[in-house]
């Protein structure tokens, strides 16, 4: 298969671009997660702002990716960071907010009130409740949100090539310009592979993060 030959012949470049791609998505997630989780927790405590924050994040995600990348350029050009990985990462952080905030919010809201009551009955204060009860129980769903964000970001990062961020999108961009189908297909396959691997990896993480008790409970209720 000529595409396979292409990937084998350019193995170093394949690795380099894949690494660039992973780097962009990874950094974006690293930044987006604390922000998203904290916001998610905050809006569970301040119900009235919940719908607004969720709406705001929803609007962010509705903005077409190339438009958001494009908008980063003039805004960041002021600080001379208009091109390259920085605007790409920032845009990806913004895109990731909705899945993360929404999942955090839903997860914490779904902690059975009876458990919260029991905790309060045991004398747990607000912070202790959060740390030892609500967050551990919510973690699997939060990770599910991260998983959605990660897979989404991998796809969107392919478009970031057009603002100079590099990554596997380069194969698609150059493949189009040079009318080089093997390159395009390589780019497409590599990104998809990356998405599938990350999806699987995060599913594993989800399972690891589920407290033993819940796993048992799920098994019993089947």
């Amino acid at each position: 298969m000529s595409t396979l030959r292409f990937m084998v012949d350019n193995f170093e470049e394949v690795l380099y671009l894949s690494w660039e791609h992973i780097w962009i998505v990874g950094i974006a997630l690293l930044i987006a997660t604390p922000i998203g989780v904290v916001l998610g927790i905050v809006i569970t405590k301040y119900e009235q702002s919940a719908s607004r924050v969720l709406n705001g994040a929803n609007i962010l995600m509705t903005i077409p990716s190339i438009a958001l990348f494009g908008l980063m350029l003039p805004v960041l050009a002021i600080v001379n960071m208009g091109l390259g990985k920085v605007p790409a990462v920032i845009a990806l952080v913004l895109y990731s907010q909705l899945p993360i905030i929404r999942n955090t919010y839903t997860a914490i809201k779904n902690v059975p009130p009876s458990l919260v009551d029991a905790g309060r009955g045991m004398g747990m204060g607000k912070w202790k409740l959060l740390r030892e009860l609500e967050i551990p129980l919510a973690t699997p769903v939060i990770i599910a949100g991260l998983r959605t964000a990660a897979v989404m970001n991998i796809g969107i990062a392919a478009i970031a090539t057009y603002i100079g961020a590099g990554g596997l999108g380069v194969y698609i961009q150059q493949g189009i310009a040079r009318v080089y189908p093997e390159m395009i297909v390589s780019g497409a396959i590599l990104v998809s592979l990356l998405a599938i691997i990350v999806d699987g990896g995060m599913a594993l993480l989800e399972r690891l993060a589920t407290p033993e008790g819940i796993k048992v409970q799920r098994k019993l209720s089947r």
Binding site: Y46, S49, A67, G70, L73, P74, I163, I172, V179, S192
Partner: protein, 243 residues
């Protein structure tokens, strides 16, 4: 504390809108839009964009809903999982790649773009149709059978109306992604608002960039709103009340 947050939110909103106005003025967006030579070009691109989105969504909806329904029928139900998985794999391919691949096989221009957009929009619709119909409470279907309804009537009068909310959500998601992906179609020679965005990026002309980015965003937001409206029309009152 909450009141303070709400006030803060309102202030941020107002400042953002004002800032956008300033940006529009300073980057020459206003001049660009009122330039008699440029304006018809922008309108033409807008219409091109709308055309691609409309045609592809039409195909995608017909194919997607049909596929979703077929996979819930008794004989084909076991293939549902596999089919959804395969279509799902297609979704992991980034939109840009789907466009580029369509170009390699079908050439340059609007036709391959519409083809790519159609394929990309089928999944959310098909998957939600399948999920929505599967989730219809079996008691309702039983009731229909009990009333002597033939399967086709059950489909039209029980299953689809009850699944409508979920199907509409799939439609909405597909539509928004479609509008965004159509902006990339410029790259394979299909025009559309992406023309302005990519030109703006490559020449660092912010007015062009905004002239493309803002209409696309507004279009997506409008599509979101439109879907809500469709929900009002297509979802029966009784179901809506229970939401």
């Amino acid at each position: 504390m909450t009141k303070l947050l709400i006030k803060l939110y309102r202030v941020i909103l107002a400042v953002t809108i004002l800032a956008l106005g300033v940006v529009a003025e300073r980057t020459g967006l206003m001049e660009l839009l009122s330039d008699p030579y440029e304006y018809p070009v922008i309108m033409e691109l807008f219409i091109q964009h709308l055309y691609m989105v409309t045609v592809s969504m039409l195909f995608a909806t017909v194919i997607g809903v049909t596929a979703g329904i077929l996979l819930t029928r008794k004989r084909l139900r076991r293939y549902a999982g596999i089919c959804m998985y395969i279509i799902g794999l297609g979704q992991t391919i980034p939109s840009l790649a789907v466009l580029a691949l369509a170009m390699s096989f079908l050439g340059i221009g609007t036709k391959p773009a519409i083809f790519a957009l159609t394929i990309y929009s089928i999944l959310p619709i098909a998957r939600n149709t399948l999920a929505g119909i599967t989730a219809v409470p079996p008691e309702l279907i039983d009731a229909g059978k009990g009333m002597g309804m033939p399967p086709i009537r059950i489909l039209m009068e029980v299953e689809i109306p009850n699944a409508m909310t979920v199907i509409l959500t799939g439609f909405r998601v597909a539509l928004i992604i479609n509008i965004g992906t159509a902006a990339l179609a410029y790259v394979i020679g299909a025009g559309g608002l992406g023309d302005l965005i990519f030109t703006g990026i490559s020449l660092m002309q912010t007015d062009k960039l905004l002239a493309g980015a803002i209409p696309v965003t507004l279009l997506a937001l409008f599509a979101d709103f439109l879907s809500e409206l469709m929900g009002l029309l297509l979802v029966s009152k009784g179901l809506r009340l229970s939401d």
